[in-house]
């Protein structure tokens, strides 16, 4: 068997096995161990939440998944392929899209343009085609425009031509999701998508995630603090504290887990 195949792990066939697998991932910055030997999976069609007190290493872990950080140890497999430490744009092209905790929209571009950038990896026009506006390019741009509008409607954003920086906070969060959807991901990584939202908006978001799974087969891995959302939407929950996995299981199991309770209450002291 070639090294490549060995790397890809024969037991992860594209039509079975987990969509995302993190195996023994650690991330060390100088003296600080931000993520310590964390392993977990996201099953196909699953919605998994990653929770834990602030500073638990959740976003760092996300960054390890998406190639923003190179894990100090461990591997990441997506859809049967080893994506550990791959360049972020390649990770996205493989089918993993993400949003950011501190909204990172392209502020001077409109909502539609933001989504169109999200589609960048899916579009195929070459520079000559762009300059000459060949039929292929025109068709592609038209389709991209239409799809961008569609995605904005899916997330419930109405002001398509508004500059991202002028959108209301809730709309900005929605735009981040629409933009992530632009890359036709199989897996959506959402980093605190409901931060700053009121309960109504959070519920809408919860329904959106379920809709995306049901209608588009998109799996979701989300970092969240809003327990209502977490409990309501997750198939499974993984809990991190101080960079380590301290619990994992169904919402009921995790909710009752004494270590989890302590981690949250203890850290609020």
């Amino acid at each position: 068997m070639s090294v490549q195949a060995q790397e890809n792990r024969a037991d992860l066939r594209p039509d079975g096995g987990p969509l995302l697998e993190a195996a023994n991932v650690s991330k060390v910055f100088g003296g600080l161990v931000a993520v310590n030997d964390v392993s977990f999976i996201v099953p196909r069609g699953g919605i998994v939440s990653l929770i834990g007190p602030n500073g638990a290493g959740k976003t760092t872990f996300f960054n390890c998944m998406t190639g923003l950080y190179k894990p100090s140890t461990g591997r990441v497999y997506f859809d049967g392929r080893n994506i550990t430490a791959k360049r972020p744009d390649l990770v996205t092209k493989a089918g993993v899209a993400r949003t950011f905790q501190n909204i990172k929209l392209f502020r001077t571009m409109t909502a539609i343009e933001n989504v169109q950038v999200g589609m960048h990896g899916q579009l195929r026009s070459r520079v000559t085609g762009m300059v000459l506006r060949t039929p292929f390019n025109r068709r592609e741009e038209k389709a991209a425009y239409a799809k961008a509008r569609e995605l904005l409607n899916v997330v419930g954003l109405k002001r398509h031509n508004e500059l991202a920086m002028n959108l209301a906070y809730g709309d900005q969060r929605r735009l981040e999701i629409a933009r992530a959807l632009g890359s036709e991901p199989k897996l959506l990584l959402l980093d605190e998508p409901t931060a700053g939202m009121n309960p109504q908006e959070s519920d809408e978001l919860r329904r959106l995630m379920e809709k995306l799974r049901a209608e588009r087969g998109i799996s979701v891995l989300l970092i969240e603090h809003d327990m209502r959302v977490v409990m309501g939407v997750s198939d499974r929950i993984t809990v991190l504290d101080h960079g380590e996995k301290i619990a994992e299981g169904s919402p009921q199991e995790v909710r009752a887990n004494p270590r989890v309770i302590e981690a949250y209450l203890g850290s609020q002291a």
Binding site: K70, P71, T73, A85, R87
Partner: protein, 345 residues
């Protein structure tokens, strides 16, 4: 960057293999190798080059310190610093011209005028540097990083034009120290007045600076602000004053460098700051920007590189050589010799 091989054992810091250390420092190794080769080919010439280089390098060290001090504290390249150096030269030469001092004057007036030249140019340059900070950088402290860089460039140009208005033609500086005369010989290499002079002026300044930054309250404030301005502010440090102080110190050193350069070089002109600035900046980066002893070491190394290049590649190529080294360092080893391994980039 594709996936690198990742060790399976989770350790905090994987031990560094010799190969990695070598690759990391390949630039210095190559330079050292070149020096050894040149020495083997012509020991006397190389030693002479080294001496000249170290002597020149002291001037670069003084200017480089100005860059590194400022960068350390506000993470900004003071583009106009070269011009501050140039003004120092101009001021001291003007003083000597006004006092009508020539190499034929009596020894006491000469010493006196050199001292006056030194002090006044240091004062002028330091004041100028502080003013630059107030006018061009302070208002933009919270602006995107692009803005102060552009104002810095603008400031550099404005000052160059001030220099141009002041002295449209290159001007000659009186050779008050008889710079070409030999004092003594070491290993067959002539040590000239200018070399001794450079050392006599520079070393106390360097020692003074290191003492100031390391031992005094003000120096501590500077180091604290460089580490974390917000925390420093919370500790009661007046961050604005500390920044101004940093610029003042950088300016003092640049002014001294300007005076030494005037005596050393014999000629001054309005655009000497541009090239000198880039060379000194290379030295600062080579030493690790933000690192004081790195700036000094970097200055000396650059001086040696220059003189070796002058001899073996010709003076016309030396600036290109120095700039090429600057590029190599910034691309491959931005942390320089003594800097931190930040992905400053």
């Amino acid at each position: 960057m594709e996936a690198a091989s990742i060790p399976e054992t989770p350790s905090a810091q994987p031990p560094r293999r010799f190969g990695d250390v070598l690759a990391d420092n390949i630039l210095w190794v190559l330079m050292l190798l070149a020096l050894v080769i040149f020495f083997a080919k012509d020991p006397h010439q190389t030693l002479d080059d080294v001496k000249t280089g170290l002597s020149n390098g002291l001037i670069w060290a003084l200017i480089a310190l100005g860059y590194t001090l400022v960068y350390g504290i506000i993470e900004l390249i003071n583009f106009a610093h070269g011009e501050v150096f140039m003004i120092g030269s101009f001021v001291s030469v003007s003083i000597w011209q006004t006092l009508n001092i020539t190499p034929d004057s009596a020894i006491l007036p000469i010493i006196g005028s050199i001292l006056i030249g030194l002090i006044v140019s240091m004062l002028a340059s330091s004041t100028l540097n502080v003013m630059i900070e107030r006018v061009a950088y302070k208002p933009l402290r919270n602006a995107p990083r692009l803005a102060p860089l552009i104002t810095a460039i603008g400031m550099s140009f404005i000052l160059q034009n001030v220099g141009l208005l002041w002295r449209p033609q290159p001007d000659s500086s009186p050779d008050l120290i008889g710079s070409q005369n030999d004092y003594f010989h070491v290993f067959g290499v002539a040590i000239e007045h200018s070399d001794v002079f450079a050392v006599i002026v520079t070393v106390p300044l360097l020692v003074g600076l290191l003492w100031f930054v390391g031992q005094t309250r003000y120096g501590k404030a500077m180091r604290a602000t460089a580490q974390d301005p917000d925390a420093a502010r919370l500790m009661g440090i007046n961050v604005n004053r500390t920044i101004s102080l940093t610029f003042l110190l950088g300016g003092l050193l640049a002014g001294a460098a300007g005076m030494i350069y005037a005596l050393y070089n014999g000629t001054i002109q309005f655009n000497q700051g541009f090239t000198a600035g880039l060379i000194a900046f290379t030295a600062a980066v080579m030493g690790g920007i933000g690192n004081l002893k790195g700036a000094v070491v970097g200055g000396l190394i650059i001086g040696v590189i220059q003189s070796i290049s002058d001899t073996h590649f010709g003076q016309v190529w030396t600036p290109a050589v120095v700039f090429a080294i600057l590029i190599l360092i910034m691309v491959f080893k931005p942390s320089g010799l003594f800097g931190e391994e930040t992905r400053e980039g």
